[in-house]
Symmetry: C2
Subunit: 594 residues, 2 copies
């Protein structure tokens, strides 16, 4: 059975050595986020994730959620763990202090999210969805609704959901049929069926607050007639506590490949009372507020699971004795060498490591910009940061989950046959990670978002939020004696990204299908350049500290960076060729011939 230790040292490296996290407290509203507050938060988060959540991960997978006449019970231990989690303030960490939140920056919250996902993704789904509902309401609901619901969502006594999908519509929410009939008192009666509702029903909170996409009777067709409603399972009573049942019921739960301790519900709304959140027919706004946040969070799921799998694989590779090193026996005292001596095992471990440390740094950067976009006193800085985050959201979601999936598969492979056996936990990481490539918009949809929305937006201004700093960095460092080794491959990959961008932008104008045909490869190329840039910056920090107390840590960074540049970044050349080949061979075949 694998173990998990939160990678606190690396998180501090990202926060305080790479990304100036000590300046977070200079942002108005984040004054409290000083290093001497943040570090204990990370250490406490490590404790609860390692000691409370992780031990329930395997048992939760085995036991799964159970549905019984509309009630859903979570696996043994989940309710108690949730109580500890809630009481520890973890549901409140990133929320507005006006509603009882701790108001921690995204940069800090991202680190905590990573730990939760590593330790127990299924568990993390419950507070994760609540935070999505919180975000939509915080951004778009009336003060009255906020006062009613937010304190409960923040302290975690109530939880939340996002009810978007219906049986006949997944990606295409314009097909949504759930109805909302306006009532004289300003409320609505909501009727319809939603599927794939994570945390839709469970036994861990007093109430469940659903954010539901629905259509009013005379709404325009399609996506422009969708509104967002808040529909609680129990109506708040006069004291603001869970009162009367509101005709929201769980018809069944799904039996899934993974995240089995997360209840995925069919939710039936039968004239359930709800209130409009935001503007009529502009429900997609609130939906996207949730969704964008969730997309970043799902990216972090990929990172968290990849990290957990890496740790399990390293532990095993050091213990498992099989064969001898081909460069000569390493442990003559033992019947065989540990498998970490074998190049192919190294390849897998180094790949996991290079991807996950790279994603942690990249995710940190995006979070930093998100914090700036929200709190910086200078409006232009906020706007620029916001544009950067918009650009990066689909990349973080798709890249991190694709790499997380690859990493969990590598970790399982290191275990050989034992990786396929459930008790070791390595195959669970694979199964749990698989959904992250699908939900909150499949990774193919992320790629379309990147090339169809983000790339052309504001005549390419979003792109420049990434391209300019990278270009500047390359110009300044490519001739550097020590950094050059790393910056040169970055420069080469970046050149390909620029060329591919030009190609897709040109082609996309006349033949959007041609551009879309390269979208997935383009997103990955973009993401790899982002990782390469982060690896260069990490080397820049590490190179001057190699001889200090923690020289090992910094030298390992440099070696890992070298591995990334030499063995992983070359993918860019293939991606580039594939993009440049266009889409005709893909679209040519007649539908009937499939």
């Amino acid at each position: 059975m694998a173990t998990y230790k939160a990678p606190i040292r690396d998180m501090k490296f990202v926060l305080y050595e790479l990304l100036e996290g000590d300046k977070l407290c200079e942002l108005p509203g984040y004054e409290e986020a000083t290093r001497d507050l943040v570090e204990p938060i990370l250490e406490e988060a490590a404790k609860i994730t390692e000691e409370v959540l992780f031990p329930l991960n395997r048992s939760g997978d085995e036991e799964e959620c159970q549905w019984n006449e509309g009630k859903v019970s979570t696996p043994a231990g989940f309710k108690d763990a949730y109580t500890l989690f809630r009481e520890g303030g973890w549901t409140a960490i990133a929320c507005d202090p006006n509603y009882g939140g701790m108001g921690m920056p995204k940069m800090v919250n991202t680190m905590v999210e990573e730990m939760i996902c590593s330790a127990n993704l299924s568990f993390g789904m419950y507070p994760g969805l609540s935070f999505g509902a919180y975000t939509a309401m915080h951004g778009f609901a009336t003060d009255e609704l906020k006062d009613t619901y937010l304190p409960k969502l923040v302290d975690g006594t109530w939880s939340g959901t996002m009810c978007l999908t219906e049986p006949h519509c997944g990606t295409d929410l314009g097909l949504c049929r759930t109805k909302a009939d306006p009532q004289d008192d300003g409320s609505y009666l909501v009727t319809g069926t939603k599927i794939f509702i994570s945390a839709g029903e469970h036994d861990m909170t007093d109430n469940i607050i659903h954010l539901v996409l629905a259509r009013t009777p005379d709404a325009p067709k399609g996506i422009k007639g969708i509104s967002l409603f808040v529909v609680p399972k129990y109506l708040p009573d006069a004291d603001g506590e869970a009162g009367e049942f509101n005709n929201v019921s769980c018809g069944s739960i799904e039996h899934k490949m993974g995240i089995k301790a997360s209840a995925t519900c069919v939710m039936n709304f039968d004239n359930a009372k709800g209130w409009l959140v935001g503007t009529l027919n502009k429900g997609m706004q609130g939906m996207f507020a949730m969704m964008n946040q969730e997309r970043l969070a799902v990216g972090i799921q990929g990172l968290g699971l990849g990290e957990a799998s890496y740790q399990g694989a390293v532990e095993y590779a050091k213990e498992r004795l099989q064969g001898r090193s081909i460069s000569g026996v390493k442990h003559p005292d033992k019947p065989a060498d540990p498998i970490i001596v074998h190049p192919d095992v190294r390849r897998m471990l180094m790949t996991q490591r290079a991807y996950m440390e790279g994603c942690r740094a990249f995710g940190g950067w995006v979070s930093q910009q998100l914090d700036i976009s929200r709190k910086h006193p200078d409006a232009q800085r906020r706007e620029e940061a916001d544009e950067f985050v918009q650009l990066m959201t689909p990349i973080v979601k798709a890249l991190f989950t694709d790499l997380g999936y690859e990493a969990t598969n590598h970790g399982m492979q290191v275990f050989g046959g034992h990786g396929f056996i459930r008790e070791h936990g390595m195959e669970q990481y694979v199964r749990d990670c698989r959904i992250a490539q699908i939900y909150e918009g499949t990774n193919g949809i992320q790629a379309l978002d990147l090339i169809g929305r983000k790339m052309p937006d504001k005549a390419g201004r979003l792109l420049r939020r990434f391209f300019h700093p990278v270009q500047d960095y390359i110009e300044q460092n490519v001739m550097d004696d020590e950094l050059g080794e790393f910056v040169q491959p970055l420069a080469k990959a970046f050149g390909r990204l620029q060329q591919a961008t030009g190609q897709l932008a040109r082609v996309g104008m006349g033949k959007p299908e041609e551009a879309a045909a390269g979208a997935t490869e383009y997103l990955r190329l973009f993401g790899l350049v982002g990782l390469a840039y982060m690896w260069c910056r990490m080397v820049e920090v590490a190179k001057d500290k190699q001889d200090g107390d923690e020289g090992d840590f910094y030298r390992a960074k440099i070696t890992t960076a070298r591995f990334f540049m030499q063995k992983l970044l070359p993918q860019c050349s293939s991606l580039f060729s594939s993009i440049m080949a266009g889409g005709s061979s893909m679209m040519e075949l007649d539908e009937d011939l499939f």
Copy 2:
């Protein structure tokens, strides 16, 4: 719920249009394998796999095998299906007519195996393992042992296993501890524990015949002291039927990620009576006879599951309505277009298709050479063909299972959220396929076998069995008006393969670790070149038939070939760069720093 139709048309294309399958019956011993016998066999195989095995695939996954006090019961329907399978002669198809077999060529058997794996891999494990045991005994056992066991293995009333792995040894069989004590009557008493024994215990046959690796008391240490024994669950009685219990018991079964209806057993041998198969201390010979066959068979598992997933994904992509084609509405009568109009969905379907059809052709070629290596009257032709098969065995195993896994993941992704739900069956293909990358030697071990054994063998003569025909083909066709478009990318990829081969061969002499560091990428590069070559040859056949009755079929081949060349083969450039970068960045990091 996905359906399955055996791809008979494509199989006939491979057999009779691409690979001269009508000449099979000219090989002594395969006289009966005429087209008018083989085609009905394929059609009957389609029937039993589609109608009997496939309907048990999902239910078998849900029900799993159950262990109860040493007895293992297979899921409902398996025993009856096995009886039908056996009575239909499917356990006998590739076996020696001297023992009741049908003596069909490998080329035919490979097609049948693919169908079985598509329809129900778990089921296929039982006869698959029997065939492995049959092969070892047929090649190495005494006539007396053969007469006793082979007829029962061939008609399927008894089944077989391969008992290799022990708790502390997986890849490194030299660590094996199971003992075999010689008895005065020439038999041995075998004692020890074996793990991961597929079909080790079940309820479908009267007896189970274990082929067990063990050590005699004064055997040399390591791999050179391993012998192979046949150890039946029940000792044959005077009539040759299952008699007295032989102290072979199943201690437990594993709970696995996939192939849940295949019993993976811990087997305890407690002074169980066994007989030596082959020469003392040369047990690895018989083991490799089984193993090489199983490695090809496991490759076919990857193909079969990828094909099944492709079929499911195509069906769904034509039915599921979401969004509109970005090149303009395709089905104005419907609320949305079917998702097959979307480029990213096409990308996944075309990738599945190009890989699986390519593997089918490639697997057909290797099978053809295997048949020649066994039956050709000319000893030199036999030897050359055998060298080719030796070279290709690790490639088929690793490449097909890696591509199969990618394909099953694409198929699941096409389903979006529904792909993650068990009832649709798409995630089962992913879980079932995952083991194929691990068992019978992990894919990393296959890559080492390729560069460490096959590449240097006979001063590179094995390599030339592939390089020479490909080189000749390129020279003859690269300037061809129609073929040139396809042969040019093949030539480019082949050039990289030659260069990488030279590099690894040079480096491998002095620093085997440097070569091993590129082994996995090298195997994939090799395999992709093999697929590219097969795609060229398929185009060569198809191009002249585009205007005939089945023009659609042949034009689809050409389009798929073009997609492969333009969108998939470019991987070779990255693989090449990664190989050429060597292994220092991979091996540099100190073990303690992981």
